[in-house]
């Protein structure tokens, strides 16, 4: 399997992206931004479609659109945007725009499918370097801002009380999500970014009560899911995305079961 260049590329790209999604996902879940992640990936879809139409580098269009989306969402307010109906409107508008650009640009059905469902066959070295650059950038910013972000994500009242600039943290995090979404969309597709960014982190909460532990477990689940997807996809010719989502879903439900059992034991214990 590794004799093929495209499989090597897929493994490198997939592993990096999974690590990034696993880490950032913990904060997405803690900040209840799952739906925003979902929306940003659709905005990314519109951006990628726009790139194809305008003939520019896909990553450029993706970044342009998602960053604009993140800033827009940030303007809607630090708190209210989580449940706001305007998010649904933005999501559908983005999807509509994406479809419009695809049709305007006379884009082949193949490429549309790739944008929505992802593809690992077309990854070249240039893509890898882009992915490395953005992944490292996102992870470094997360590491440097870790304490502030952690405080604000898990205890916003406390963070504000301690004098942290919560508005800045909020916008900064949305921008990181935009960057992370932009590279992830290219590999797993707009529809499944959501799965890789939120399910491993949601599952991790069942296994540990430590924040650092959540980050480790979430990353582990995300990376294993991508490996499983690539290997199973290679041998069966079924879509990789299916296997990724399947693995994540299993981790989630197993975690839920594990959590229930442990809870019951704790309640029963004297």
């Amino acid at each position: 399997m590794f004799q093929y260049d495209f499989m090597q590329h897929a493994f490198i790209a997939g592993t990096l992206i999974a690590m990034m999604c696993g880490v950032i996902g913990v904060f997405i879940i803690a900040r209840s931004l799952s739906f925003i992640a979902h929306t940003l990936s659709h905005i990314g879809f519109a951006g990628a479609a726009f790139s194809a139409y305008a003939g520019i580098d896909p990553l450029l269009g993706l970044l342009l659109f998602t960053i604009a989306g993140a800033v827009g969402v940030g303007q809607l307010g630090v708190r209210m945007y989580r449940r706001d109906a305007s998010i649904s409107v933005i999501l559908s508008l983005a999807l509509g725009l994406g479809i419009l650009f695809l049709s305007l640009g006379n884009i082949q059905g193949n490429y549309s499918r790739t944008l929505l469902f992802g593809s690992v066959v077309g990854i070249d070295m240039q893509d890898i370097w882009q992915i490395v650059l953005i992944t490292v950038l996102v992870l470094v910013v997360l590491a440097v801002g870790y304490r502030w972000l952690k405080f604000d994500s898990f205890d916003q009242v406390g963070a504000q009380s301690a004098g942290l600039p919560i508005r800045l943290i909020s916008i900064g995090f949305l921008l990181l999500m935009a960057a992370a979404t932009s590279v992830t969309v290219q590999i797993v597709g707009a529809l499944l970014v959501f799965a890789l960014m939120t399910v491993p982190a949601a599952a991790a909460r069942f296994y540990t009560q430590s924040i650092f532990g959540m980050i480790l477990i979430s990353t582990l689940i995300a990376v294993l899911s991508v490996w499983f997807g690539l290997i199973a996809g290679y041998y069966t010719n079924a879509p990789i995305s299916f296997f990724i989502v399947f693995f994540n879903a299993i981790s989630y439900f197993f975690g839920m079961f594990f959590h229930r059992v442990r809870e019951r034991r704790r309640v029963l214990a004297p």
């Binding site: 803690a30 590491a143 304490r147 405080f151 898990f154 909460r205 009560q209 430590s210 924040i211």
Partner: protein, 256 residues
């Protein structure tokens, strides 16, 4: 160490409504300073003004320290803990350790965390999810999170509300010991006048009509003053609440 906290002619209005009016008082270093008064008097507003979360229309708050910048620890009145985020008590306390930039804790920080959790009697809760703790345990965890930053000034907004008497005493003893051991100056809002009588060095009685500061015995034993301010809370055969006029309530500044 805090050298002095001085509030000078503070005025806060919300939407044209005067909440704090020409409020002036001083807090001495290392003392336990209680703030009492009916609901809506502006007690929380006062703490937020001291923190800088609210910008007063007039007057100022001056906080003087020895040499370094004064660190203020604040335990706010309402804190909704999402039970869906079952992070451990020790992680929750450690959230307050924001001075470093490394993602992991240094040995010194680990030691500080351990010391604070020992001090607040939260050590045995360390691995429990914060969502599963009782009210008193949560308040001690909140206090620990504020203390782990080694504050010079501690602001507690009704941290003993909804606690049983024993937990209230435990909480106040912790604050008292923090003052004694580390020289922390503490302002606490409290509705339990017995607690105030036992623990406070000075009291600020705050109402919309005016305010008064003094020793607990002088304020709490002033029957006329106390009934005027808390009139609404004493149920007198269902008559309309009497709203005292300015002249009925002796306005006073800081008694020197």
């Amino acid at each position: 160490m805090l050298r002095q906290l001085q509030i000078h002619q503070l005025q806060v209005r919300f939407n044209g409504e005067q909440i704090l009016n020409d409020l002036s008082f001083k807090v001495a270093p290392g003392e336990l300073f209680a703030i009492i008064g009916p609901n809506g008097a502006g007690k929380s507003t006062l703490l937020k003004s001291i923190l800088g979360l609210i910008h007063p229309q007039q007057g100022d708050v001056s906080i003087l320290g020895d040499h370094r910048k004064v660190i203020v620890g604040y335990v706010p009145q309402s804190r909704v803990i999402d039970d869906e985020t079952p992070i451990s008590a020790s992680d929750f306390v450690s959230l307050g350790q924001i001075s470093g930039f490394l993602p992991w804790l240094s040995r010194k920080e680990k030691k500080a965390l351990n010391e604070i959790m020992q001090f607040t009697d939260t050590k045995r809760l360390a691995n429990k999810p914060i969502g599963t703790l009782s009210g008193g345990e949560r308040q001690r965890v909140f206090l620990a999170q504020a203390l782990v930053r080694k504050p010079d000034l501690l602001l507690l907004d009704e941290s003993t509300a909804n606690l049983d008497p024993e937990a209230q005493i435990q909480m106040m003893e912790l604050v008292k010991n923090a003052a004694k051991e580390w020289g922390v100056t503490a302002l606490f809002i409290c509705h339990d006048l017995q607690m105030v009588g036992t623990y406070a060095d000075h009291v600020l009685l705050l109402s919309r009509q005016g305010y008064k500061t003094g020793h607990p015995e002088d304020i709490l034993h002033d029957r006329k003053l106390m009934t005027t301010v808390f009139h609404g809370s004493s149920s007198e055969n269902g008559t309309m609440h009497h709203v005292p006029t300015e002249s009925e309530l002796p306005l006073a500044g800081f008694p020197q």
